[in-house]
Every structure is written in C-alpha cells, then in structure tokens.
C-alpha cells in the first residue's frame, strides 16, 4: 500500500475504517472513535504513537473498527492536518466528487 505510514514521522494520529460501513474514523483522546479528523488525538513522538496504537487495538476485538494504523500529520495553522495526499482524501472524500464523503456533510477541515 503506497502513501502509507512514514517510518520516521514524529507527529502522528491513528485512523481505521469502521466495521459496519467502512467509514474513515480517527482515535480520540477519550479513547473512542470519531468520523472527524479534528477530533483525532495527535501525539508528537514515535513512542507515543505506538502506545496510542496499542490503546486503539481493543476496538478491533470490540467490532468497532478494522485495521487501525498510524499516519503522519503536520502542524497547520492553529491545528494539524494529514501529510499525505492519501490521508487528505480519506479525511475529506473523493476530490472528484465534492458531494460525496465527509466533505459533503461537513465543511473541509
């Protein structure tokens, strides 16, 4: 899978797809999952990232999500944004159908 996790990245968040409908979700500070990137917990070291991913794993057993993984984010203005094109597209929806995906229901984040 291309455009996946950059091994040297330091600023990280955890994402997965929801089991029921495949929706893109993000692991939050509270240990739950949100459809919105703005709710994603962001950590700033590789070690913290691995620890967060471990905390997210029980959600697989709990039938909430499939395939959690870490991805790189960057500081952007007052918040953060995914680095790769892939994660930007997952965050918003297809760039060729702005009426579909998360971007259809929520303004771009």
């Amino acid at each position: 899978m291309a455009q996946h996790h950059n091994q040297t990245a330091q600023t990280l968040a955890v994402t997965a797809n929801r089991l029921l409908d495949g929706e893109v979700v993000y692991f939050t500070d509270g240990g739950s999952w949100s459809e919105h990137f703005k709710d994603a917990a962001v950590v700033r070291s590789k070690g913290d990232g691995e620890a967060m991913l471990q905390r997210a794993m029980p959600s697989v057993e709990a039938l909430e999500v499939i395939g959690p993984y870490l991805f790189e984010v960057r500081e952007a203005g007052s918040g953060t944004a995914p680095v790769s094109v892939r994660e930007n597209i997952r965050m918003n929806g297809p760039t060729v159908r702005l009426d579909l995906g998360k971007q259809a229901e929520h303004p771009r984040v």
């Binding site: 455009q3 089991l19 094109v85 997952r90 297809p94 995906g101």
Partner: protein
C-alpha cells in the same frame, strides 16, 4: 442473451444466503476480520479508502435492460446514486454498508447477477469483444463460448485457489477488441485447414508490474477441445506457477521463464492425458446447441443500408453527424448500426454513471436495441443492434441527458482507474488527470484532427487503467507521499499488441497535463499523410518526444 438454468439459480441463491450468514457472524464477532476477509473477497466485497466496495460481475460485458435497471435500483437504494463501469466490463459500487451487502446480492440474484469471482485467485469474469455477434468483421460469435467458459470456470473447485488471479478473454472478429494478447489466456476464433472454425490460443499475456504480450501456443484448436485444453493450461499453471512470490505468481512469469515452446509442450502433454481419460470435458452437442440458441441472431428486419431520415438529420445537424461518424460502427446486418454511448463527457469521470442515467439508458435499450447492451473494456456502453433509421432519435434522447459525447477512441475517450480518489492500493489519483486532459482537448475539431489516440491512466502499478497498452500511458507513482506521473508511449492492445515505453522521468501533478499537450503537439508536427498517433510513434520512436518534453519542462 443467456438466461440462468436451475443450477445457476440454485448456486447463486445459496451463495447469497451463505454470505448472509457470514456477514451476521462477522458482525456478531464470531468471525474475525482475518477470517472474514477471504470470504468477503470471494463475494466481490473489498474495503477501499472511504468505504466498502462491491464489484459485480457482468459476464462478458452483456447486460439486459432489466439488469441495468436493477443496478440503478441498487445504486439508489444502497449506494450513493451512481455506479462505476470498470475496464473488466464489470460494475462497482463505492459505498455499500456491510450489513446491506447480502440484500444487494439478493437483488442481483433476482436478475441473474452476482459478485462471484470478481476477486481472489480464481478464474475471473470472462471478457469479450463488445461488438460480439454483430460486427461486420467477425468470423463467429464468441459469446456462446464465453458462456461455456463461464459455466466451466464458475466455482471450479480445482481452480478456486490458483497461485494468482486468472483472466481469460475471447475475441471472434478480425480486429481484436478484447485485448486477448494481454490476458492470462487469450482466445481468438480462427479457421482451421479444412475451413472449420475453432480457436487460436495465446497464453501468458498481462499487465501489472511485469507487462507481457501473450504467446501463441496453439494455432488451431477444435471447438470440442476447448474445455479440455483450458483445463490443461490451468493444471500446468496450478502445478508450476509460483506461490512463494506474489510478483512472480502470474502465468506470464511461468511462460516467460520456461519459454512458450516448453509451455506449449507441457500443456499438450496434459491435454493428451486429459483426453486419454475419455471425453468428460467435451461439452455435449445438445448443451452447445442449448447455449447457442440464447445467442441466435435477433429478429432483424429487412432494411436497406440507406436510411433517408438519418441522412437528412446528418446533413442538418453537425453534432449528430459527428456522433454518427465517431460513435457508431458497421453491423453485419444491412440497415443496422452498432452505437456506442460514451461515459466520458468533457470533465466527466470515466466509467461513472448516475442511477437516473442508467434507467434512461435501460429505457433506450428497450426502445432501440432489443433490450440489451454491453459494457466495454474502455468503460463505455454499447447498443449492439440499432436500426439505422432510429439513430437520430437515439442520439437526441442521449443528447438530452448529456450522454452523446462523440469521442469513441479519440483523445478524450480515456481509460482511468479509480485511483487514489477511491482505491486503497493507489499511489496517485487518476480521475482528475483524465478530467483535465479531457478539458484541455475539449474542442471537437481538435479531437478529430488528432484522430484515434488512446490515453490510459492507472493510479498504481497494478495497471487496472491499462496504462501499458495506452498509445499514451500514464502511471501514477508516489514520491514520498507526493503524486508523480510516469508516461509511456506506443502501447497498444489491438492485433499488433505492444507495451508502451517509458519516455523519461516522471512529471509532477502540475506538469503532467502540459506534458500530454507537448506529446500531442509533437505528434501533430511529425505526422505525415494523415497518420494516427501510433503510426507516427512507431515510425519516429521515442526520441522526438523526449526532446520536446524534457526541453520544455526542464527535467
């Protein structure tokens, strides 16, 4: 077209209920994702970037209007109001919910459709010429044999766990419109020494990471031997194909490693062994006749080739005249034409169609083409049997819905895979590149002047967008999370199949469309005597393109 018999109905219905149980067990936690994944893939269900994706088989690309309406219904009811026609003549839905998939499969089964063998290491949907049965240059209709192959390969226990996926294409016309040289097995209808019709068999073609043109291993195969010979090839592959390395597991690698001659020998030995066991793989003549009957010529009217109403409209309306010229093809019956519906309006998404348009097309198929249509590997739709005198009415109805783009085989008739807008394996986006190129070359007169030119775009090396065989092929490559595009020139999937050659370093996202512009300009300057792009390229080679491309873009 073929209608299910009791066995087809039983198999498909049972599979729906089996999958319903599997989904329920997944949702209750009885099955883990690792356990469930192979089961869902066997039913055409993938997980993509934003959601699940369901791939529905369209056997050899043929659909009835009733089936198309059901596909539209599914798009509306369970998805987001559209579907995507693929380069394998199939249909994909991009947003189904897991819990809804059994109901979708049930709705498909109601119209004799399913999603079996659209994934996994099995024999995939058999593909063929979208003009099969009606083209003027055809030796014989390949569809009955595509159907026989479909039945033989459906859930074939010996070939359900091959080293890798396996694709078979069959073509019955002089012109290869099924890209048979780029399939694991390519079958061309051919004439034997006594004038009888049978098959020429090619093996080991393919695209992906290691593109290869198939080699002919049998100049002539009698019809009765088709299944035994297929079985022999598959057995040799099953025995010798590599299972230890994903990238070396396709039959093309085996053919490449041992050579076509040795491959032919292995297959012939196996074939002889199968034949010794008796004629169990011969399709009984009564069964062949039963299947042939489904593909019997339609109830054609006796019409003259000249339709005055069409001619009048052609003279009066240049848009219609252009569509007639570009989107229709010769039919073997006087007074009929083959009409193509492009899914590629300027700036559109190749292969996508809204549920409303699908319903409209189904209605038009009822009205103008014996309630049937075909999906093409170029992601367009074909009405195979349109009366010449109905062409203007058909065009008008299509035009009203924005479905009358007159661009078949022109530069804006691009193949583009879903790419990074949807696909989990993608390096880069494909669709926006196709959209920008189509806008760049929007002008109909410019397109006509450029002539036949196939641009094919894949978002990764898996080559679902057939970039290796594009006259201009574009491959998305990932450079540290940034999209780049590599360009190949001179590919072709027709009778003189060839694999495109990479022209030089990849182009950035904001350079690629200009690069295509430069390639086209270079061709227009270099062409002589009305050559097509491919002729010019084959005459002058890569060098002139390299010079203009890399001078102008400063690589």
């Amino acid at each position: 077209m073929y209608r299910y018999d009791e066995f087809d109905h039983k198999i498909v219905t049972e599979r729906v209920e089996q999958f319903r149980g599997q989904v329920a067990r997944r949702l209750s936690g009885e099955l883990s994702e690792d356990e469930f994944k192979p089961l869902r893939l066997m039913n055409g269900l993938y997980l993509q970037l934003h959601a699940y994706m369901l791939r529905v088989a369209v056997p050899y690309g043929t659909l009835s209007s009733r089936q198309l309406r059901q596909l539209a219904h599914i798009a509306r009811e369970y998805d987001k109001g559209y579907a995507h026609f693929t380069t394998r003549q199939n249909v994909q839905y991009n947003w189904p919910r897991l819990a809804d998939v059994p109901d979708i499969l049930k709705d498909l089964a109601d119209v004799e459709m399913h999603a079996l063998q659209t994934s996994g290491n099995c024999i995939r949907n058999i593909t063929t010429d979208p003009y099969a049965g009606v083209s003027a240059d055809e030796l014989e209709d390949p569809r009955p044999w595509a159907e026989i192959l479909r039945q033989w390969s459906s859930l074939h226990p010996e070939f359900s766990f091959l080293p890798r996926k396996f694709k078979i294409a069959i073509n019955g016309a002089k012109e290869d419109r099924a890209a048979i040289l780029f399939h694991d097995i390519g079958i061309g209808m051919a004439r034997g020494g006594n004038g009888e019709i049978g098959f020429r068999v090619y093996v080991g073609g393919g695209q992906g990471r290691t593109p290869m043109v198939a080699e002919c291993i049998r100049e002539f195969l009698p019809k009765t031997d088709l299944l035994a010979y297929m079985e022999a090839i598959l057995r040799v592959y099953n025995r010798f194909g590599r299972r230890d390395n994903l990238y070396k597991s396709r039959i093309k690698i085996l053919v490449h490693q041992i050579g076509a001659e040795a491959m032919a020998k292995q297959v012939e030995d196996e074939f002889a062994a199968i034949q010794k066991q008796g004629d169990t793989l011969n399709v009984p003549p009564s069964e062949v006749d039963r299947i042939l009957a489904y593909f019997a010529p339609k109830n054609y009217e006796s019409l003259g080739d000249f339709a005055p109403e069409t001619e009048e409209a052609r003279l009066a309306d240049e848009n219609f005249a252009r569509w007639l010229d570009v989107n229709t093809a010769a039919h073997k019956i006087p007074g009929y034409r083959i009409a193509n519906i492009s899914t590629k309006p300027v700036g559109g998404i190749p292969g996508d169609m809204s549920a409303d348009d699908m319903d409209a097309v189904a209605d038009l198929a009822d009205k103008f083409s014996f309630s049937e249509l075909r999906v093409t590997h170029k992601q367009n739709l074909t009405f195979a049997d349109v009366r010449g005198k109905d062409l203007h009415a058909l065009w008008k109805a299509l035009d009203e819905r924005g479905l009358a783009s007159a661009n078949i085989s022109l530069i804006t008739d691009q193949i583009a895979c879903p790419g990074l807008d949807y696909c989990n394996l993608a390096n880069t986006r494909s669709i926006p590149i196709a959209q920008e190129i189509s806008k760049r070359f929007e002008d109909a007169e410019l397109q006509r002047r450029i002539g036949r030119l196939h641009i094919n775009i894949s978002g990764c090396i898996n080559a679902c967008g057939h970039h290796h065989v594009g006259h201009i092929g574009i491959l998305g490559v990932d450079k540290k999370g940034v999209e780049y595009y590599q360009v190949g020139l001179g590919g072709s999937s027709d009778n003189n199949g060839s694999i495109g050659k990479i022209v030089g370093p990849a182009f950035a996202r904001d350079e690629i469309v200009d690069a295509i512009g430069t390639i086209v300009d270079t061709y227009l300057k270099q062409r002589v005597n009305g050559e097509e792009f491919l002729d010019t390229y084959r005459r002058i080679g890569l060098q002139p393109f390299k010079e203009t491309l890399y001078d102008t873009t400063q690589h």
